[in-house]
Amino acid sequence: MPTQIDYEYDHSLYGVEHESGPFDVTREIVDVYTRSVGDDNPIFTDADAARAAGYADQVAPPTLCALFERGELPDIKLQFGRRQFHGGQRVEPRAPIVVGDRLTASSHLKDVYTKTGRSGTMVHVVWETTFSNQDGVVVADVQRSQVVRE
């Protein structure tokens, strides 16, 4: 049951799966991602090292799939606030994601709720997304909390 709040938004989004993708996990994406955060773990940077450890190819770091959510989640048409920021993120890796994988995402609205903090009233919009690979294997469950401020 979604939390009751004082602001209008599109409740019809509840119970509906929003499909997106495909997202290709290219070597370039994994290389830029690891380089930008200074990750030099050979499993994430070197296909040979990853294969030697039993993986099919160079492995994507566990949080990389969260990149693909951006711009893909529907607008809930919330009648409140102007500024948005990222309030929280959860990633549960379920199976390795490797270079060459083609992912699809299935997202649904989990909850919208209000709280108050240092910056006044805030509305949290929580989405859950499941990523699967080209073989239909679930590779990660992801939860994102977007915060809208006054």
């Binding site: 949080t63 951006r70 993120q89 549960e92």
Partner: protein, 151 residues
């Protein structure tokens, strides 16, 4: 993944950690060019609040900030550097404050629960990211690991 492969991708064993152990803090810092690289991946290459002083000031920030999703990637890196590439089964972060560029970020890991059952050897870590003064953290959260056992 086979157990053998998981072991090779893991640096840490269940027996290596105890409830209450503190790891780190690891100190990381993020420069503008790293954020620009990250934003190019993320489909946000134009000047924005993460890469541009003027854009950041427009929304009331002191300067450009590190995107939440990049902050998470940094935390994930600190954990996998310590525990191994295949150890993390859940990383769950709350972003409490904006994370500045070019600023020492202290990522602390504290073992807050350990449990063995039929599904594996579970370790929960409390995660905090603060500035150099252990003030209110920019980020709090937990990481759950499944580690191999030496037994």
């Amino acid at each position: 993944m086979s157990d053998a492969a998981m072991n090779q991708a893991t640096k840490l064993y269940y027996e290596d950690v105890d409830l209450g152990d503190e790891i780190g803090p690891a100190i990381v810092s993020v420069a503008l060019d790293q954020v620009v690289d990250f934003c190019s991946l993320w489909g946000n290459p134009a000047p924005n609040r993460f890469t541009d002083q003027a854009e950041a000031e427009k929304i009331g920030l002191d300067g450009p900030i590190v995107p939440g999703i990049m902050t998470m990637a940094l935390v994930s890196r600190v954990i996998t550097d310590w525990a191994g590439a295949g150890a993390v089964v859940d990383l769950d972060l709350v972003f409490r404050g904006t994370v500045p560029h070019n600023h020492p970020l202290h990522v602390g890991i504290l073992i807050s629960d350990t449990e063995q059952d039929d599904d594996g050897n579970h370790v929960q870590c409390d995660i905090t990211m603060t500035g150099p003064v252990p003030d209110r953290p920019y980020v709090i959260g937990t990481a759950r690991l499944n580690l191999p056992s030496r037994e």
